[in-house]
Symmetry: C2
Subunit: 191 residues, 2 copies
């Protein structure tokens, strides 16, 4: 299903290719995606595709990187708010991302335990950043921070698992998920 070639600048072309790729990776296993197909859908030559992304791994890494960065941007905390509101706002932004970027959520999820260390590291970086933000917002220090770090890391895994489940069960109201997630964090941190 080739679409007519359009003149796009470098950045637009890259964005277009990543947009196509993320949809393919969301619906199939990593093995079943061929970047040649991405070129075909985009209506560009294979040579141009390889020019942007020499290998499938490079392509997938670029997708995971873009989505992780986007996720960090939209969930960036507003330090002027009280900590509970910062957390709730970050969670709402994450839910919003999940609702509007289901492909990105699945791609990041696949990236989490990719056999490729470089891809895992992209996701690890995002998780570590989210963890640090929460620990800093709460002001955990010293010994207390060690245990709180474990609890927060676990909670991030909780939120991700709940949201992946949500993609499969979209009838669950967002407000219910929000309550569950906030209550769970309070439990994890002993608040």
């Amino acid at each position: 299903m080739a679409t007519p070639r359009k003149r796009l600048d470098r950045e637009q072309r890259r964005t277009q290719l990543l947009d196509i790729g993320i949809q393919l990776f969301a619906d199939r296993s990593y093995e079943d995606v061929w970047i040649e197909e991405v070129a075909e859908i985009a209506g560009v030559s294979r040579g141009l595709m390889y020019h942007y992304f020499p290998t499938k791994r490079d392509f997938f890494a670029a997708i995971v990187e873009r989505e992780s960065k986007h996720l960090l941007d939209v969930t960036a905390p507003d330090a002027s708010l009280p900590v509970h509101e910062q957390i709730a706002a970050g969670l709402d932004a994450y839910f919003e991302y999940v609702k509007t970027h289901s492909h990105g959520v699945r791609a990041i999820n696949i990236g989490t335990l990719s056999a490729e260390a470089a891809i895992r590291e992209i996701v690890e970086h995002e998780l570590a950043e989210q963890q640090t933000r929460i620990l800093d917002a709460w002001g955990f220090e010293g010994e207390r921070r060690v245990l709180a770090a474990v609890a927060v890391r676990g909670w991030i895994a909780f939120v991700r698992a709940v949201c992946l489940d949500w993609l499969d069960h979209p009838a669950i109201p967002q407000e219910e998920l929000r309550v569950i997630c906030l209550r769970t964090l309070a439990g994890a941190l002993g608040n």
Copy 2:
């Protein structure tokens, strides 16, 4: 580092090969494990290795399957206990498994998001079974079960993430982890 060949019966030989494999998979990425090396360490011919496990995927699937089954066995609930004690006992059994089978924990973790659907399904089956056990023990039914199922699935992801973290930070006391996990479940379920 070939060890002398020993006469083992079929089941013993299979167990030996899996035991060797799990150590290799725990320390390296999937790509960097060669089943020929497993044969060499076991002191058996490649032909015999292929006889037991035709491909690396079959071999890895057998490891994940054995460990998942073992984990389900050791965490099987005692329905005669009150629900809180069943959960706590299951959690203690899981911690015990993590402490004594770190290779198995890592192998299952790698299996969770393996590109191979068949391997993911082995782990999914274990997670679904743990989820069902907890929901049944608590007696959640109907509409309440739908939301509780999401919370419990998230909690299982929490416990797994916390335990993976624990492997990297073994100084954290088990009792602290236990408290965090139980408090988190109470939060997730709104108890």
